[in-house]
Point group: D2
Chain length 348, copies 4
């Protein structure tokens, strides 16, 4: 196969426009060759189990899956029975960006709440957390939060704890969509468990692809209850990979050392630099707290298309002119500075 793309190209479109981290690619090569057991009966998956305990503590388990949608669906199906509903933010990826898979594939009714910044709070949860015992209402039995959020904001451990305490007091479980959990943990300088298990979360969709894997997602659980039936659900949801060694090896590359943090911290730092560079330009408004690797910003309309042509990014709100700028593990200071320079040149 011939290389067909320019490996120096960069965008601010999404962290999945990036390729894979070289250490991840090397892990694939190292894990190949010879025969090992399929469907998880291999030494890489076994080692990954140990690493997950090291990262998240005794009893933590990680089940590799293939897509973020698959991770969310399987995790939520394991958390609630057939009649359970799940409270989420109206901006939640699980509600807006998964083709209806949670409802249709997962059979999960989502109960949505508008938020200013992508974060749920006890008060916001209460807008949908009611009606237990009412046979006509889907029963609210779990909450799902996203960390870092779809708006680039980050929950502190205390904010998560407020959510989990409140939910648990109501008999609800808490799932965390951690497609970008690494970015949140890196931003706060905390281990992954501080934002999940230690904050009372029951299960996590732990992302890999947006943090530099070729492809690989996972569900991390902290109790037998949160993992009930998960391996069967994974198969039913078409998320069971036969040569699982290749997904596990990528997660090993990411989690065994500090690659997850290095990659996430680098992306975060670029977002901070980008926001700082843009903040003072005329007509530019940063609209959300830049807590992780995303910058939400309103740009004057006349500069949007010239900037997009050179740097590629997506609209967030066409009415207000808000756009989303994502930094990836491979975004460099030069990429950022070029964007800021181009914006400044267009604006002044």
């Amino acid at each position: 196969m011939t290389r067909l793309h320019d490996p120096s190209a960069h965008t601010f479109a999404s962290d999945n426009y990036a390729g894979a981290h070289p250490e991840v690619l090397q892990a694939l090569v190292d894990a190949s060759g010879g025969h090992v057991g399929s469907y998880g009966a291999d030494p890489y998956t076994a080692r990954l189990r140990e690493v997950v305990v090291e990262q998240f503590g005794e009893g933590a388990e990680l089940d590799p899956v293939l897509t973020g949608t698959g991770a969310n669906v399987a995790a939520l199906q394991a958390l609630v029975p057939r009649w359970g509903a799940v409270v989420c933010a109206t901006t939640a990826h699980v509600y807006t960006d998964e083709g209806g898979a949670p409802e249709r594939l997962g059979g999960i009714k989502l109960l949505t709440v508008p938020t200013p910044d992508g974060k749920l709070t006890p008060e916001l949860i209460d807008r949908q957390a009611f009606g237990w015992g009412d046979q006509q209402r889907p029963q609210p039995l779990a909450v799902t939060i996203t960390q870092s959020t779809e708006l680039g904001t980050v929950y502190t451990p205390d904010e998560i704890r407020a959510v989990t305490d409140h939910a648990h007091a109501l008999g609800m479980r808490v799932h965390l969509d951690g497609a970008r959990l690494a970015n949140a943990a890196a931003a706060l300088g905390l281990p992954l468990r501080a934002l999940t298990r230690d904050a009372g979360v029951d299960s996590v969709s732990l992302g890999g692809t947006k943090n530099g894997l070729v492809l690989g997602e996972s569900v991390v659980t902290f109790s037998e209850e949160a993992r009930a039936g998960l391996v069967y659900l994974r198969k039913m949801d078409a998320q069971l990979v036969s040569k699982m060694r290749f997904v596990s090896a990528q997660f090993l590359a990411m989690l065994e050392g500090d690659l997850w943090r290095r990659s996430a911290a680098s992306a975060n730092a670029r977002a901070v630099r980008l926001a700082a560079g843009l903040a003072d330009l005329p007509g530019v408004t940063i609209t959300q707290s830049v807590d992780a690797n995303a910058v939400f910003v309103v740009l004057p309309r006349e500069v949007v298309e010239p900037l997009r042509a050179a740097h590629h990014f997506y609209d967030w709100d066409r009415q207000t002119g808000e756009v989303r700028l994502m930094c990836s593990f491979d975004t460099t200071d030069e990429h950022v500075d070029r964007f800021v320079d181009d914006a400044r040149a267009l604006l002044t």
Copy 2:
């Protein structure tokens, strides 16, 4: 990440115990680096589209997915409406080995028919193909066949044509589960299209993993009708990969040249050698025609466990002592001869 396994280990357990072909790993490395569009808007997926037309003719389209179960479910959902049912062999992978995903995730009722050798025929299809217009019967609107079959047998083009002509005359469509289509095509010395499009098949689950990919499956369709809604169904079924370049690049490595045929032909040749070596041993009965890369054989009970300890394989029918021996792209003559020698030593 450290290598944790013995790259010289070999088994006859399954073609998914093997790793990835080195050319496939190299394609991953070449496709990485820099930014390209996600969800299929990348040059590898674009080039793959051309290659698919080269292989299958004008109008053929390939949509990458992640698991064989996902490929089968999405392909069948696209072929039949909500009320459609699908006729298959009782041995079909889609019925026995997919955790109920076709029924539960896909909403597809499977109507099964026993077969002697894993192959459907017009007569066998007729055992379930009836009841159109009967509001209480799931409507039989498609047939799915497996090539090569779960029993290691291979349909000839004429046998497939008999199925497709019959099905089409009844208003039914035909899907082919081609997890091992490459093995069938290599065995018959035919191009992939001779066994699919040219034989009247409407859509194909074209496998990659069992033919040497890291992970990657696909749905190949030959008409707009067979592809209706497929891209939405792929997302709904949690089969849409964000960094699609990495799945497409693997398929390019496999399909652009003759890697698919080299790998499959090699596995097939080992199976023939294995069957030939075993056929004359005392108490040994080859139970199915060795058309592709599987050998189904009844071994005397006393030799099964010693052989399994050294070579690993799976039981097929514990009552009769029938076992399944699978050869992979990386099975060598030495692996085969060692098995035959061990069997002979135990039996004589």
Copy 3:
């Protein structure tokens, strides 16, 4: 069996607190005795087919089902393919009161839009009607409106036509949840077809239970396209009744003459009388246009519970003190006047 209730009891809780109209009960008795074909092969269902053509015109078909949820789910499944999504008001019964059945049983993603009065308009539809071809977005392929709405308001034929013209121009179909269609038609003095077929609607959930049936709902369609697979979907959705003569006979009692209009007009007239009686009481605010058989009203908090104890009704918005008062086919002027008198006595 002994009578266990007071047949003179009345409430303003819901039109399903009422019993059945005596003419409907007589129809059940008349339809019983002897053997007729099951699952619709009976003379009552045959006659109903003729009556539906009389009411809705050539090509109209009515398929009896058992619950309003079942009617909505089956009708929408027939209107859109597996990947279709349906735009509805956030107050729509299908979204708020059906236990998630549309999503979970029907596999239908609902795309919701807030409305001031329960009515969709072209502008409101446009808030969710976008993203065709975007593989990550459930495809908006239908709109569902409720007539009369969950807020007691009624679309005029022109308002419905605006919706259907807009939707059709976008390639979307239109379903009308007519659990209380009779009330709307009676209020406007129009035949049922003026608000459905003649206004461009593709299919209707035509309610019976809230208009005086024992139990019975139906799906009415005006084209082969809107009815695709409906009889199979009805069975799959557990809505096929074996002794269908008994549901069809009830609909005959309702539709063959003018019982549907008499019952609905009576309920509507009581609602108008009730609103008129309440409107001028101190501290009372009628919150929605009283177009059909419901009155939405804010009552001073101190009178709510005493009134509820005597007349039973449900809260609509606990924060504002808004309650919903429903009139039924058997609500009389005396029931209404007693309520108004009680309210006046408490308030003055």
Copy 4:
């Protein structure tokens, strides 16, 4: 509405060709008039709860639903989690006659076993009861049996106990499809509980329609575990009737006294008389034990169509000429004798 059928017509087609028992119709009339709570908050449903305890013992609960398919789906969904599969006979109504609703609406994989007479045994169950913990196999977590069976045979209490003891020892629950449970109980001269709760069954689809109701089915459970989420599942499955008083009143008419037994015993007695009359005719073979209200019989081909024209019945196996003759609560000795006389005249 005008009567459109001949109330003296009789067939041997199905017990759902019959109308409703006059006592059932009277119960509908008595339950109507005035307002009572909807969705089960009415005195008829309350009284039915007491009657169910009288019939089945403390802790028994009955939840009314609308169709037999709905009863089976909801009962099985409550018995097994999302990943559960259910073992049944290949002849089971749930597998062959419900349009795929158990799989598609219920998300339940059915694992089928051929039987000679429609009855499962521990040995037959074992053919599908394996693979717990195998992530690729739908987990067999329940068994469903039909009483009386689709072949007109009846399990003795000991036969049911053998099934339930075996299933429970394997960690599986047992559901009984009792669409014709009354016929089985009447045939054995036993109370309903002897064949269900006292024999170890966990939940029952207790039929009403085939025993003389207008329409009405139910799920009866004997423990909190077997009823988990049932009221929510009933709504999700579109089986919650708003004017529940009307279904409950019919069940009261059937269960409060001995109507259920009178009707069933009458139908059974006619079947015995019919079989006795046919048994000695030349060329006639009774193929199944006539335990309840069905006669399965091979008739000489030349008499089938003349008899069918006069008495209407369905083929069971066109290859062997086996037909099914069903007796209903309203079948009389005269109906039976006329059939036998006609058969004799044609055959001799």
